[in-house]
Amino acid sequence: MSVLVIIFLTAVIALFTGVFNQGKMARYVGIAGLLLALYVSYLPELQFFSQYRNMFEFGANTALFTKISIVTTLLIFFMGGFAFSNHRSHQSELYALMLFALCGSIVLFGYQNLVTLFLGIEILSIPLYVLAGANKTDLRSNEASLKYFLMGAFATGFLLFGITLIYGTSGTFDLYKVQAYVNKFPGDLMLVLGVILMIAAISFKVALAPFHMWSPDVYQGSPSLITTFMMSVVKISGFYAFFRLMTIAFIGVYDEWFNIIGVFVIITLFLANAMGLAQTNAKRMLAYSSVSHAGYIALIFFGINNLSTYNLAFYLFAYALSTIGVMMTLIWVEKLKRETSFNAFKGLAKKEPLLATVGAISMLSMAGIPLTAGFMAKFALFSQAMNGAAFLVLVAILGSAISIAYYLRLIIAMFFFKESSFKTSEKVTLTYNILAVFVIVAIVALGVFPDLFAMQFASLR
């Protein structure tokens, strides 16, 4: 709980530092605040209370997801110095808004009441609507912002419809009371309708097909750093909120909804991967890859066991790391070339071997090549889902098979060209290089010793 307060205060302070020095201080304030929050999240005695009036609970799982999202945000902040170096002013808002969004994430990790769920989603989304339009002079960024806002507002509407129906039948917003009600009357049609509406709304937030239509445009139009934030932190919070909702409140009507998610998974994996194959722009390709990952992650709803939360956290963290790795590369290229087509990446390995390597390893991790975190995560997910939905695992395997083709295209562009297409003498900054090494080490280390993750983040009983 104190983590939430710290991050909120940091965001407020960061916002006020905008007065000085074009707001560049905000980044350092943000990093300091996040480090403090990360430290505090390891100290259970500083949590003040683990439960707030049946609205919010801060248990072990909440702490686990809080830690991984704080680490992810930290890495994104480290990238920020380079990524936002073109923004002459108003930098402080960007960092402050990201921190506010992170507050929303943490609310989502610990909500215990459907109202808190709604609040969390809104606190997460509203800063993002603004952030998506952060490149004020870029038409695509404006488009992204507006599109995200309009579609997001629709999804929120669905969420509220769903919550209303559930409140109407069960008479409570409390997650555990809903659970008790669902277990008692699983055949309640109105309730099932509410469940379906909520699934639709949250599927929108995590970009699960067929509710993914907004995501390629928004991901491509937003400033790349914000895209990274959306692909990683927002996905982490969206999915854990989804997971909490389905496994705590609605597990009693599992038979009613697992087929729906199964169909979503199939559509997502085929559609997103096929679309990814057709892209010529790396950023848009990564947007589709992000959608396809939502499909893999949704396998978490099959064969649920007591390790599922851990598997989910591991996958999300592995995916967030990979996203950061590949987006690092992309941001650098975008900065130099002002575009992100595959051709823009030609010969990157010649110019910046480290940056090309971090991009390549991240993409191999996304594709699930062994000795990367992504493989271990995918393996855990597949072996869980195999126990109950073997067919979906087959679909996921086919999906991965398709996906490797488009990841390879980018790797080939970076590595297989003798002459570099980069004419500038601009070198990568030191922070950036350190970050690249960190991401490579983290991805490989988690791929070789998956238990490291548990040692760092999870306090499993």
Binding site: G368, I369, F375, F382, A401, I404, L408, I412, P450, D451
Partner: protein, 497 residues
């Protein structure tokens, strides 16, 4: 805990890391030195090796550590006869392959040799892992370096197409194997090989698992009709890449068939699946040989010849497996397969090296434009002939004994199949002697021949060592058979028990 095996795993990995990190001109010497140390360690292990113990009994050079508390998988490595043979093949061939590149000017030489050593690390892992997940991981680890080698140093204008095709094809195959392994994992107590053998799947489940795993191996081997990536990849890869691919990498699949597929899915093999595979393999034998007859690109001829020979290996393995399941216990097919795999490793490396030597002399791979080299390069003519004879399977060369046992085991199962596969020896003689004759004896371009030289020192060393091995194991094949027989007995025994 065996320090020998640990060294075997770590030397190439550390060496590869060193090479990536260091800068300088002596990358090839460093890489060669590292691979020589690796070879010496292998010989040390071989020296004190007792071929009897197998996976179920006490293993030699065992490493077993728990890995993750969330995975029922452990870092379990060990060597039995089968592993030993393939380790020997790997660790003798890699120094040869590295040495063979000494005369060449390679761009980014550090990365090139680092990737070869990384590949060696993966191969050693595959041949020693005694845990399904570990096997899969190493299996994939080999893919990245060879893909980069093929892509970075392959033929310029073709490489984007063929490398992608190669990678996607093999990766899809491997993913299916992963799916099958995960499926077995749900039933078996753990990923340990012996647990996987006793997973207790019924016939339907076994059949699904069989085809999923077989797909991965079939792509790698390759078996008809999954071979379409192979000719392009072999042809356009750099010579060292082709050597690694054909000499060692496809043996991973032979090893995988024996170690995993046969004992895990015996009922499926006894059902219709085994016979289908046998049929596919024999179609491949004939198909490859016939295509090789009409090719003019010398690397392509050797690629199809490799495809054809591998078909015979698979046919032998499955013929014996089917016999065992029908109640007649025999391990001949497996023995033949391993002896032939060992022999084929050296022969095919020799052949592709000859192709490279020819390409350097004639600046073309088209055999119609070559000719008359025997006059100016007698040393080469002799050594090339020995390698060709080994591939054809002439008695007293290493190709003979393997092929003989393989055809005998197929004969025991089905006479017709044996006749068809026997024809390939004739066809092999036809296409190999055709290419040999065209390149060495016919009238050649005098201007090229005038400037063509005989083998350089490096070339001579490599060719002579391969020719020596061809004859050595042709005359004394027995040690190889003795090395593998007890582990094969265990494998085929686990099918019926």
């Amino acid at each position: 805990m065996s320090y020998h095996l640990l060294a075997l795993l770590l030397i190439p990995l550390v060496g590869s890391g060193l090479l990536f990190a260091l800068k300088g001109k002596s990358a090839k010497h460093l890489a060669f030195g590292i691979s020589l140390i690796q070879m010496l360690v292998t010989f040390c292990i071989l020296y004190g090796f007792d071929a009897k113990p197998t996976v179920d009994s006490v293993l030699q050079h065992e490493i077993n550590y728990p890995w993750s508390q969330f995975l029922k998988s452990s870092l379990h490595f060990g060597i039995d006869g089968m592993s030993m043979l393939l380790l020997l093949l790997t660790n003798v061939l890699v120094p040869l392959i590295i040495y063979s590149s000494f005369n060449e000017t390679v761009n980014y030489r550090n990365s090139f040799y680092a990737l070869i050593l990384l590949m060696q690390f993966g191969l050693v892992g595959v041949f020693t892992a005694l845990d399904g997940l570990l096997f899969y991981i190493f299996w994939e680890v080999t893919l990245i370096p060879i893909w980069l080698i093929a892509g970075l140093w392959g033929q310029e204008n073709k490489r984007f197409h063929f490398t992608t095709k190669f990678f996607v094809y093999t990766f899809v195959g491997s993913l299916f194997m992963l799916g099958a392994f995960v499926y077995i994992y749900n039933y078996a107590p753990s990923f340990a090989v012996t647990d996987m053998y006793n997973s207790g799947l019924n016939l339907t489940q076994q059949t699904i698992v069989f085809w999923f795993i077989f797909f991965a191996f079939a792509v790698k081997l390759p078996v008809f009709p999954f071979h379409t990536w192979q000719p392009d990849t072999y042809t356009y890869s750099p010579t060292q890449g082709t050597m690694l691919l054909s000499g060692i990498m496809l043996k991973m699949a032979v090893y995988g068939l024996l170690r995993y597929l046969l004992p895990i899915t015996p009922d499926a093999i006894a059902g219709i699946s085994g016979s289908i595979v046998l049929m596919l393999a024999i179609i491949g034998v004939l198909h490859g040989a016939l295509i090789a007859l009409i090719q003019n690109d010398i690397k392509r001829i050797f690629a199809y010849s490799s495809f054809s020979h591998v078909g015979l290996i698979v046919a032998g393995i499955f013929a014996s497996a089917l016999l065992v399941m029908n109640g007649k216990f025999t391990i001949e097919g497996g023995e033949g397969a391993l002896v032939q795999a060992f022999a084929h490793g050296f022969n095919v490396v020799g052949l592709f090296y000859c192709a490279d030597i020819l390409y350097k002399r004639f600046k073309t791979r088209d055999i119609r434009q070559m000719g008359g080299l025997a006059k100016v390069a007698p040393k080469f003519a002799v050594l090339f002939l020995i390698v060709v004879l080994g591939s054809v399977g002439l008695p007293l060369t290493n190709g003979f004994i393997g092929e003989f046992i393989l055809i005998k085991s197929i004969f025991d199962f089905n006479v017709l199949a044996a006749i068809i596969s026997g024809v390939t020896i004739i066809l092999a003689a036809a296409y190999l002697f055709r290419s040999y004759g065209k390149t060495m004896f016919t009238e050649g371009d005098d201007r090229i021949l005038a400037s063509a030289k005989d083998l350089s020192n490096v070339e001579f060393t490599v060719m002579a060592s391969i020719a020596g091995i061809v004859i050595l194991f042709g005359v004394f094949p027995q040690p190889v058979i003795e090395l593998v027989s007890s582990s094969l007995k265990f494998i085929y025994q686990s099918m019926v028990s």
